[in-house]
Symmetry: C2
Subunit: 125 residues, 2 copies
Amino acid sequence: MKYSKQRELIRDYVVSVNTHPTAEEVYKELRKEKKNISLGTVYRNLDVLSKQGLLKRLCLANTKDRFDGNTLYHYHAICTNCGEFTDVNINYFSFIDKEVCEKLDVKVLSHSIIFNTICPKCRNI
Amino acid sequence: MKYSKQRELIRDYVVSVNTHPTAEEVYKELRKEKKNISLGTVYRNLDVLSKQGLLKRLCLANTKDRFDGNTLYHYHAICTNCGEFTDVNINYFSFIDKEVCEKLDVKVLSHSIIFNTICPKCRNI
DNA sequence: AAAAAAATAGTAATAATTACTATTTCATGA
DNA sequence: TCATGAAATAGTAATTATTACTATTTTTTT
């Protein structure tokens, strides 16, 4: 893959934040910083970066796709009240993969978990 | 909510299969059965049924939304090779919710897990 | 520095989903 | 049971998110 300034900007931005931005959010932020970049380029590069494993694509019901610069195994939580989407930094449960591998006749590569939560803000309202 | 024949058809169909159909698949199947129904009605009802908890909406990267008639806690697996999407019938790991609740300052309602797998068919090719 | 390959910007097109509106269906109660 | 009103539908139009296209630009190689 040939180097491109735009791809670097996109990746650097997504890696630098923990907000799990959408394609459009990445685009708007980079434009705000006066970077010369088009929306199509953002979509294309988020896609190739995800496919290369340099970013992670997150897909949830009723939302646009989001992107995560943290590619290490970790889990996510979404507040069912306000929609706030955050990282959950607990250790990866490897034994779960082993259990499924044994129970079903499949090779398990990994798993992802999304927690449905009520965040502190919403709980205290 | 007022009764409607169409909503009943939609729900009965989704509950009767374990294929996790998309809105369009539900629509096509019901039309094939000569049912009088429109695509908009299918979308609208899948949405209200999901919101009522009578169906479950499943959202995955790079795919259309799917719907699951089994609303009991269970997990899912997707083959990273062929995309086959199946149920994973193992017990719900309640302790995980407790652990996250203790580590983070959030109320955990539930969690969902998706396993990335290589299904038996793909493994044996 | 020239040539080739790959990426971009900007726009057009597509796909999935949602909104709109006139009509129909369902539920209520006189 | 039948008139009334509320809610749902069919069919179409509109919107939203994403992908495709093409002329131009950037990067890499020679």
